[in-house]
Symmetry: C2
Subunit: 240 residues, 2 copies
Amino acid sequence: MENQKKKAIVLLSGGLDSATTLAIAKTGGFECYALSFYYGQRHAMELDCAQEVAKTLDAAEHRIVDINLAAFGGSALTDMNIDVPHSSSSITSATEEADAEDEIPITYVPARNTIFLSYALAWAEVLGSTNIFIGVNALDYSGYPDCRPGFIAAYETMANLATKAGVTGEERLTVHTPLIDLTKAQIIKKGLELGVDYGQTTSCYDPAPDGASCGTCASCHLRLKGFNEAGVKDPRRYIN
Amino acid sequence: MENQKKKAIVLLSGGLDSATTLAIAKTGGFECYALSFYYGQRHAMELDCAQEVAKTLDAAEHRIVDINLAAFGGSALTDMNIDVPHSSSSITSATEEADAEDEIPITYVPARNTIFLSYALAWAEVLGSTNIFIGVNALDYSGYPDCRPGFIAAYETMANLATKAGVTGEERLTVHTPLIDLTKAQIIKKGLELGVDYGQTTSCYDPAPDGASCGTCASCHLRLKGFNEAGVKDPRRYIN
């Protein structure tokens, strides 16, 4: 008799990192409930990618929740009046740019991961799951405050006080971050081992209307550098 | 020359507690940005109340953000297939009921305050505010895990790691809970001192189509008990 699989909520953006995270959760024996958001992002075509990825990796369910981060603005990703920065120097990563300028990139969306995790927490509680997976990464974190290990640890502590489990002393909720210490190249190698089709994923902040990645935004730079270091060709289509 | 007022985000449900919280923030000298949510609640008429309250108490701005908690279900407040409990014993509070049964009420909405605070955090960051007000209450907290002081403290810690301020070491974000140690009667007396018109507020989980409060749900019980103890007549209209 097969044991019932443990349920996990997996945040899935349609990008490289979250697709790899879903593959890792699946390989770890979890029944995966993939969660994506339409939040007014200019690169909303990533949601089509998320759907393909969820299907390929056998998610038990995939929900796209329409939330409203553009209502607050403040980011190049949700405010059409702020341009996404582009650069032709193809190996400069967003992290390096952020370090050099000692500031947070304009593509940072205020409180985005906090909000995403909070919806994951709600769904987890309704499903009776105590496992949330998020593909944040401490090395190539692009200067975003809500991708750091300290943030994730504090979120987990808070989440355990926010929920029924925290009151009744049931099993603790865990926020899993399997990519936290990996380089982009290591993430790509891991994903390829686990059957991720990176042609289904997009990382571009500012894709062309036909879906081709720009190749010049900070996120494309990070991705291309990762494939370069992994010694693998990126199957995604680029403009340049 | 008048000093520029400090900005605060105030979570405003349209109920008694959050209206009092807004009045306290205003009296404390904050320029108040009121934030309400349509989250699929069956008592969505509370949003009309929130608008009246925000206007009366001179909020600098009032936003109602349409989020999607009903997508996950799991609560009598958002799932029309789950009935709101009613009781005719008019002085039994929700807290007493929860204590007696040692369980969390069916009106608990999973991760609601976590999600509300996360949107407040996003707006605060965009506005450059480091102050969030929420009208949670430790005494009459109805058995909801996300109304306890420990949860709020953990949220504040997490929020300071989630935001730009946390990275750059700027001023710390504070989650203000001015009602945390007050009884419902004390909250009502405080609000009356500060000019809150409680006739503009609604607390009912299950109001009649014409807006009258039921008088028999746990939230009506708490409210009526509070007015009774404060020795003041509740100006809200009730069915019973």
